[in-house]
């Protein structure tokens, strides 16, 4: 390098300039608020990595949570109610009448079945519920009278 500046009066540095250069540089850096213990910027190759990993982790956790939330099963009862409600809403008047008729028919058939079943052998007392009725039925039982007789059968011999 043709560095002739040391011999050149035009560009000669003051005496001792370079000896104190480092110290003056440090003073200036401190006066400007520059941290002289560690470099102002953390290594670029690393500084972006940690925040990126943290951000990716947060996003991953959020996505997993969202997926799990969406897959959560709903109350079956609510489903049925919803279904029935939808069904009811979507039924026309004719359909509703048809359903009602069907229900009535089913009810009638149930009643018929009950009526066709043999009566239980137990006295009438078994069909009564109130205490007064139970007491009356007991009296009748003691009198040898059983339930089901008609009035004529009960009082046929009496002449009034």
């Amino acid at each position: 390098m043709k560095n002739n500046n040391k011999n050149n009066e035009r560009h000669k540095a003051p005496e001792g300039y370079f000896d104190s250069f480092n110290e003056r540089l440090l003073e200036r850096m401190r006066s400007e608020g520059i941290d002289t213990q560690s470099s102002a910027k953390s290594p670029l190759r690393i500084s972006w990595l940690k925040p990126a990993i943290a951000a990716a982790s947060v996003i991953t956790i959020a996505v997993i949570a969202l997926l799990l939330w969406n897959r959560k099963p709903s109350n079956p009862g609510n489903e049925i109610v919803k279904t029935n409600t939808v069904k009811a809403d979507s039924l026309s008047k004719q359909e509703i009448a048809s359903v009602q008729e069907t229900n009535q028919n089913q009810l009638i058939s149930i009643i018929d079945e009950e009526l066709s079943e043999p009566e239980p052998k137990s006295p009438i007392i078994q069909t009564s519920h109130s205490p007064e009725e139970q007491a009356l039925e007991k009296e009748l039982e003691e009198l040898g009278l059983t339930g089901g007789e008609s009035g004529e059968e009960l009082f046929g011999d009496l002449e009034i």
Binding site: K2, N4, R10, P14, R24, M29, P43
Partner: protein, 184 residues
């Protein structure tokens, strides 16, 4: 214990990043480059006060930006580039900076390096002639002639193409020759 003086220039940035004692590595960088940086900016700025200011600003920028240095250029050209920019900023502030004129960039040929006279008296006249050049031409001339940078290195420092640099240097030499012919 690493002997810092034995570390090559291009390994200093890596050492700076990995070292717990960054101050020591930075001091080594300053010690290696303070004279080169000073005389480089001194040639641009002429006076000592501005050159001192530019030199200090250069190393402050080095300290702040060394973690971001990616090694895309040579370490010393990176430092020179910072120094050049700091000197030019001061020049612009003082309104002494003149950009290249378009015509200067057009003439480019296989330029042979002219040999300029080297005696002390003539060197003084040489410096006087250099000072008559536009600032950017001065910069290119100084980097090429005194510091013997390659055109590729100068291109990294100045952000100018190699072809434009060769043209600039060619014109600078021609002007200096004319100036020296007048004064001798």
């Amino acid at each position: 214990m690493i002997e810092l003086k034995s570390i090559p220039d291009d390994q200093l940035p890596e050492l700076f990043l990995s070292s717990l004692n960054k101050q020591s590595v930075f001091s080594e960088i300053v010690n290696r480059y303070k004279e080169k940086v000073y005389f480089h900016v001194r040639r641009i700025l002429e006076n000592h006060e501005d050159a001192d200011d530019a030199a200090q600003l250069t190393f402050i920028k080095v300290w702040q930006n060394l973690p971001a240095f990616r090694g895309n250029s040579r370490f010393y050209t990176w430092i020179y580039r910072i120094a050049t920019n700091e000197a030019l900023n001061i020049l612009r502030k003082n309104r002494k900076w003149e950009p290249f004129e378009e015509g200067e960039l057009n003439e480019y040929a296989a330029i042979s390096e002219p040999a300029l006279p080297r005696s002390a008296e003539i060197e003084n006249r040489l410096y006087e002639a250099i000072e008559t050049l536009p600032k950017k031409q001065q910069l290119v001339f100084n980097l090429r002639y005194f510091e013997e940078f390659s055109y590729e290195d100068i291109a990294e420092i100045t952000g100018t193409s190699v072809g434009a640099l060769k043209a600039s240097y060619f014109h600078a030499v021609k002007k200096i020759e004319q100036q020296l012919t007048k004064t001798l």
